[in-house]
Every structure is written in structure tokens, then in C-alpha cells.
Assembly symmetry: C2
Homo-oligomer: 129 residues x 2
């Protein structure tokens, strides 16, 4: 299977596949006599895994870690569990930060929406921010 077909099969671009190889998420591809990359079904499965990981919000580095555990012959379940726990904690922190920011912005917005431009002090750029 050539790179273009693999790209269509996984919904990625050929650029992305080469990029993943360069980043070590895919092993160096087997080559046809003409130098073209030749992929088998196991690579498609690997790319699907990478895709699922990305959907779960994992970074390529984290996905790479999981793949290396698997490639070392171990089941990466415990590693994945820890990674997902960390991901949950990160998400909770990010959500909390955004909620804090949201309430600050909402307050500014109410103030400025009720503002009279005439009272705005040029020196302060905008009196309501």
C-alpha cells in the first residue's frame, strides 16, 4: 500500500504520515524497489491508534510514549491509565482557568457595554479595561 492510499484509508495526508515517521511514531517504512514507501495493515492500525489518541487530546509525544511501550512488548494499559489521569487533571485545570477568565471578561464586558465614551480618559487608553 503506497502512502497516498494509506493517507486516504486513515483520513490523513501524505505529509502527515511522513511527519509521523520523522517523529518516530511510525517505524521507518518498508520500501518498494522504486523507493516508494510500502505500508501494511499493521501501519494502518497504528495510524488509527494515533488518530484515536489525538481525538482523546493526547499530544504526539504522549502517543509516542505509548507506542514505545507497546513496541517494547508490554501492554501499555497502566501507562495509558496514568496518562489519561494526568490528562483529566490537566483538563480540569484548564477548564477552571478558562472559567475564571470568563468571569473576569464578563465583568469587563458589562462595564464597557454600559460605558459612555465621552468619559473615557485618553491617557488610560480605555477607562473600562
Amino acid at each position: 500500500m503506497r502512502i497516498g492510499e494509506a493517507a486516504v484509508a486513515t483520513g490523513m495526508t501524505t505529509k502527515t504520515l511522513r511527519f509521523y515517521e520523522d517523529r518516530g511514531l511510525l517505524p521507518p517504512a518498508r520500501r518498494a524497489p522504486n523507493g516508494y514507501r510500502d505500508y501494511g495493515d499493521e501501519t494502518i492500525a497504528r495510524l488509527d491508534f494515533i488518530h484515536r489518541g489525538r481525538i482523546a487530546g493526547l499530544t504526539l509525544a504522549q502517543i509516542g510514549d505509548i507506542l514505545r511501550v507497546r513496541d517494547a512488548g508490554h501492554a501499555p494499559c497502566f501507562h495509558v491509565r496514568d496518562l489519561l489521569a494526568k490528562q483529566l487533571a490537566d483538563l480540569d485545570r484548564q477548564i477552571a482557568e478558562l472559567l475564571t477568565l470568563r468571569s473576569a471578561v464578563a465583568e469587563y464586558h458589562e462595564t464597557v457595554a454600559a460605558a459612555d465614551p465621552v468619559e473615557c480618559d485618553p491617557q488610560r487608553i480605555c477607562s473600562y479595561l
Copy 2:
């Protein structure tokens, strides 16, 4: 006031001040005869405004837009109001996305936490993700 003093006064670094000038958030600084930048109080006020904008989660580009409106002689209130409304909408979207992602990750996490590594199919890398 030299750049180092202005940096201390605003809690920024000299690098940041030069960077802001380069990005057009500060006008080209007045220079002392020795070539050193020479800042007045109006620049400190401007830097404080930039700082408040950053705290409100505005990008430098957005803050720059506000400053250009002010520099053109207009009160930027209406512009700021629209910007903050957009910022609120963006934040709501981001928060919603993160909450969606969080629930997906939470589900994966529960599944994998209850998983038996022995049943994990190597071909699928990790059966629970």
C-alpha cells in the same frame, strides 16, 4: 526614564518592551543623545493598559487594534466592547470543547482503569483507547 526603569515599573522585562515596540504596540521610542530609549509616563500608562489587556486574555494583536483606535483619536469603547463580546464567545466555545473532551477522556479512563492488560490485543496497541 530608561528601558530598565520602565521594565521595573511595569513588571516586564527590557526584552518585552523592545518586543512590543517591534510589534507596533509601542511607538518608536524617543532616544537620548546616547541612543538609549527614553520613556515618559504616557508609555508606562500604555504598558499598564497592555498588561490589563493580557490579563483579560486578549492577544497582542487585539490590544494593538485597541491602541490604534485610541491613537487615531477615538475612544475605543465600542471596539473594546465588541472585542470582549467576541472573547466571551470564544471562551464559551473553548470551555464547551474542553468539557466535551473531558467527558470522553473520563470514559476512556474508567474503561482502562478496569482493564486487564492480558486481554489487550497488541495489534490494536491498546484495546481501551
